[in-house]
Every structure is written in structure tokens, then in C-alpha cells.
């Protein structure tokens, strides 16, 4: 199981998903009306490191973080 956390304005509680790839994560988000738009413009971190590789493999116990568009300062 992978824990997925949604940060900032997404405003959704974390979920536990049984997924192994970013594509499965995208499928999960795209079929939710609430999460669809955030799939398009968010970055993804696994265990607090931003993922740049589309083929990144998830493993059980990973914490995935969804980071929507930012504006600090």
C-alpha cells in the first residue's frame, strides 16, 4: 500500500492506494472530479523527493505527495 497526501489548496484527506506506478496514480486522480484538474498541474514527490522520471516504480510503504502550483513570498 502507498499513502498519498494532497497538499495546499487540494484540501483532501490522505488516501491509501494499492498502486505500483505513476500511471495508476494518474488514473486514480483523473477519474475523480475533485482531483482531475490537479493531476494536470501538480508535481509529485515520493518520500519527499520530487519525481522527474515517468517510469518511477512505487513500492509498499512509500509516501506520495501531490504538490499543486505554488506561490510563496
Amino acid at each position: 500500500m502507498v499513502k498519498v497526501e494532497f497538499l495546499g489548496p487540494i484540501g483532501k484527506d490522505p488516501v491509501e492506494l494499492n498502486i505500483n506506478t505513476l500511471e495508476e496514480l494518474a488514473d486514480y486522480m483523473l477519474k475523480s472530479d475533485e482531483l482531475k484538474e490537479w493531476a494536470e498541474n501538480s508535481a509529485v514527490a515520493v518520500n519527499n523527493t520530487i519525481v522527474q522520471d515517468h517510469n518511477f516504480q512505487l513500492k509498499s510503504g512509500d509516501v506520495v505527495t501531490i504538490l499543486p502550483p505554488v506561490c510563496g513570498g
Binding site: P9, S42, A43, C71
Partner: protein, 149 residues
């Protein structure tokens, strides 16, 4: 890197940093302060921060600054910051003027683009995500299905 609930005490923070860099024999010290402007009938801005990734982001800038003989500092507010108060201070100290001037610009611009902080307008007590002023982070779009890279 320092995070505070509510507005920053800019004078206390920047005076303390000034004393630190004087003792370290730096010759140039630059601070960038962000102040909440009265516009769009807001009462305040409000901020969410994801600290673990912000700290990594900051540490990698500290490494970069060190490689140039310089150092960076940063303070940011969490939660509401009323008009005319400050949410953000970035600072650079360096032996060399030109290094400091180049670094403050790079540091602040990358902060705006990639620090994991979310901004909200506060209007009638309600927080409204500042979507139009927000920027997708480096690496955003990795979940897009029509991406062909």
C-alpha cells in the same frame, strides 16, 4: 531557514542576521523583504507550507551558495499575514558584491517557482487559493496522460 506562525518580525530578524554576517567577515549583505500590499480588497494573505520539501530546497541552495563563498538565509510566515506586514525575507551574504547581487536574484526567483508554499487571498475571513498567481513546480505534469516525453 526559519518559519513563523503569522507575520514576520522583520526588524528583529534582519537585525539579528546583520550581526551574524558582520561577525563572519562578509562584505556584502542583501535582504529581500516581501510586504503584503493592499489590493483586490484583501484583508490579508495566508500561506500553507510543506516543510520537509522546503527544507530540502533550502539546503540545496545553501550548498550552492557555499560553493560560491556565500550564504543564504530565509524566513517565511505560516497562516495569515495582514496588509503592510511581511510574509517573507530572503538574504544573501558574500565577501563579493557581484556574487551577492547575482545570488539574491536567482535565490528569490527559484523560491517563487519551486518552494512548496501555497498562497491564499483572505477576503471576508475566507481563504481563496491564489490560483492565477501560482506556478506549477519543476516536475509538474508528470501525471498528464497525453504527455509524450
Amino acid at each position: 531557514m526559519e518559519l513563523f506562525q503569522g507575520p514576520l518580525d522583520v526588524k528583529a530578524i534582519s537585525n539579528r542576521w546583520y550581526d551574524e554576517v558582520r561577525e563572519l567577515n562578509y562584505g556584502a549583505f542583501i535582504t529581500f523583504v516581501g510586504i503584503i500590499r493592499a489590493e483586490n480588497s484583501i484583508e490579508a494573505l495566508s500561506f500553507d507550507i510543506y516543510e520537509p520539501i522546503l527544507r530540502k530546497w533550502f539546503d540545496s541552495w545553501q550548498q550552492e551558495a557555499k560553493s560560491r563563498g556565500a550564504l543564504v538565509k530565509m524566513a517565511h510566515a505560516i497562516g495569515n499575514v495582514p496588509i503592510a506586514q511581511s510574509s517573507y525575507i530572503a538574504a544573501v551574504a558574500s565577501p563579493k558584491r557581484k556574487v551577492a547581487l547575482a545570488l539574491i536574484e536567482e535565490f528569490v526567483e527559484d523560491f517563487k517557482a519551486n518552494a512548496p508554499i501555497w498562497k491564499y487571498d483572505v477576503v471576508n475571513g475566507e481563504r481563496i487559493y491564489a490560483k492565477d498567481r501560482s506556478t506549477p513546480m519543476e516536475g509538474a505534469g508528470i501525471l498528464k496522460k497525453d504527455s509524450d516525453d
